[in-house]
């Protein structure tokens, strides 16, 4: 079997090449990241116990409405909409974080406690919870916990929480359809591999004969 037959064998070969690549491209599905996360469909090759576990986790609700609202604001502070792509919450990041803390329960406490820590800080300073603060107020606090090397010792718990929140947000965003497109990953499709493109070789001082 040659490469073309290989592609046929996985059921992608009956369409033209353009269509083939199109069919593998992120964004062709109408499902949002959230829908997929909540999806009840079991993929072939996923074991029954794995699927049952996913279904159970999806039924459970961990974060309160207020906590989810705070997570939504935080995720959009970390990854906002810009000229190239939409925001973290649009890409389904809050729902992803809700799933992950149930999937890895060790994250439940640091997330819940961290969100509470944030509200307590805001109440002390602004007499309001984080979500009720003005954007300027929110960012004043975020600035104190977003830069680990600069942060004051008394803000370290906030730094730890924000780092966790930042990692969750980046994971959730850049593994969503929007995020994969944004970061420019263009693989996961059948194609040839003939080494580094000529212009890139040249850019870094390679000849292609290394």
């Amino acid at each position: 079997m040659n490469r073309r037959d290989s592609i046929k064998a996985i059921g992608l070969g009956t369409v033209g090449t353009g269509l083939l690549l199109e069919s593998c491209r992120p964004g062709d599905s109408n499902k949002t990241a959230e829908e997929t996360t909540q999806s009840s469909g079991k993929l072939p090759g996923v074991q029954d116990f794995e699927h049952a576990r996913n279904t159970e986790l999806n039924k459970e609700q961990f974060f309160t409405e207020h906590e989810m609202a705070t997570i939504t604001v935080l995720s959009d502070i970390i990854i906002p909409k810009d000229d190239y792509s939409d925001s973290a919450s649009t890409a389904g990041v809050p729902a992803f974080i809700e799933f992950m803390v149930k999937d890895i329960p060790d994250y439940k406490l640091p997330m819940r406690g961290g969100l509470k820590w944030l509200d307590v800080q805001c109440l002390k300073r602004f007499n309001k919870v984080f979500t009720d603060c003005e954007e300027k107020e929110q960012l004043t606090l975020i600035d104190e916990i977003a830069y680990p090397l600069q942060a004051k010792p008394e803000m370290q718990q906030g730094v730890a929480f924000f780092s966790l929140m930042r990692n969750f947000t980046a994971s959730g965003f850049f593994t969503s359809e929007i995020g994969v497109k944004d970061i420019g990953y263009i693989g996961n499709r059948p194609g040839p591999w003939d080494g580094v493109p000529e212009d890139v070789l040249k850019q870094y001082g390679f000849t292609g004969n290394e």
């Binding site: 079997m1 490469r3 064998a9 072939p44 999937d103 359809e177 990953y185 591999w193 580094v196 290394e210």
Partner: protein, 578 residues
Amino acid sequence: MKHFEIQEQDQVYDAIVVGSGAGGGMAGYVLANAGLKVLMLEAGPFFDPAKDALQLRWPWESPRRGASTVRPFGDFDAAYGGWQLEGEPYSTVDGTDFQWFRARMLGGRTNHWGRISLRMGPDDFKPTDGVTDAWPITYDEVKPFYDKVDRLIGVYGTVEGLPNEPDGIFLKPPKPRLNELFIKRGAKKAGVTVIPGRGAVLTEALPGMKGRGTCFYCGQCGRSCKVYGDFSSSSCLVIPAMKTNNLKVIDNAMVREVLTNDEGLATGVSYVSTVDMKEYSVRGKLVILGASACESARLLLNSKSKAHPGGLGNSSGLVGRYLHDSTGSSMSGFIPELIERKRYNEDGTGSVHIYSPWWLDNKKLNFPRGYHIEYGGGLHMPSYGFLDWVPSVNGQVPDKDGKKKEQGGYGISLKNDYRRFYGANVGMAGRGTALAHKDNYCEVDPNKVDKFGIPVLRFHYKWGREEVAQAKHMQETFQSIMHEMGAIITSPTYGPDTSYGLEAPGKIIHEGGTVRMGDDPKNSVLNKWCQSHDCKNLFVVDAAPFVQQGDKNLTWTILALSMRTAEHILEQRGKLNI
């Protein structure tokens, strides 16, 4: 249990093969193709990569985006199982450690392995340093089988003529990725050899091979391949062997013990169905174990009889002894020059594009043997946690405006950093020879059974001075390569307190040695044909017979030895010796 009934089958198979991984798969393939009626028992479910692979799935098709919560190598990886299995525990003696990875599925761990396919060399079979025992066979005796495996299964690579790193019959290797060109450049300056990788992936059509597709470069061998473009025992051996109508597979069959008669010969095996929990026994003229090094040892130790009071084939008392994995230590970082690199598809193959075979002379070193280095990094498919490193390094290199910014951050500036740093990461991992010691072993735990009532294994494994010294050397080498390629190291500095990042025994998933071969029955369990000294119709074909593995990943040697054993069985059957 009111009615404990064992369902016996009348048919006597020519051979019963326990396990369907590289060893069991190859034995089943050779014997079934020669016309023997073979029964294969697999503890896990049937798995056909064509249907069951999660290849070409996107990260958002997993609710955890490929995180390793359930499967140790992530949601899309093709191993059912892991270091812990529900209801199938194992124990370790205090002060020792062993992590036992088990894949319960047709094809076993070959569905997800790295496809790195290296031959052991002449010095690996017959060491010249006297540190470990010699094998009863030489490289030259195994070479014809390595050649046949190359032709049957396919492996890419290049003819290099290096000492103790034998060449094979190679398909064309994939060209290096950009990060790998940087690695090669840095390694050369650091005095470390780098050559094209050797992987069991069909980069071109394999002469004479029907039913397998060629690689289309998705880089996802770990998910197993729907077109059978890489080697899995399921796709390349067991499923084709079933088409001969001579191989029958019973899946979800957990073998309890090997049955023997009064003369001490094997007559078959008993197993429990993991689906209906009923007990079964099947009969065969030969029993061939390929259940994995530790599982085969466990099976022998649990098969006690009047003729074999210390466990089947264990008159030497060595079953379970000489357990050894590979050493492993790693380092990661990023290449500042690659920040804001151009995007293109560099998925390549799912095996290694380049690697460093062991390049030094041990006379000048404080440890025996050596290690090879595997490399990674680049524009890979996004998955859970893949950008976690960015906020901890974005303060180390100047931003677009030439100024350094504060590490961490948020907002549009951070969003841009994730984009800028993506694909600039680089990683390297050493895989080295861990010495086979009699005192590193597994045995039956006297106090514990699994959910099937089968006594479980208890491990005793400690690293020695040699393995720690090797890990130290790995870290120093990695540092020097990173430095020479202009990379910034992001992984922690591993010192003596962590044994230089040396992974726990078992973590590299290269365990072998537990049913070792040799000429002297007092000093070995199997003869040089992987046949029990004590029970002539019993064979072991996984990594258990290994006297001492080299730094080469062991799958290619398992395949070659299993083929050799199977051909020996055919020859001896002809002579009516077994």
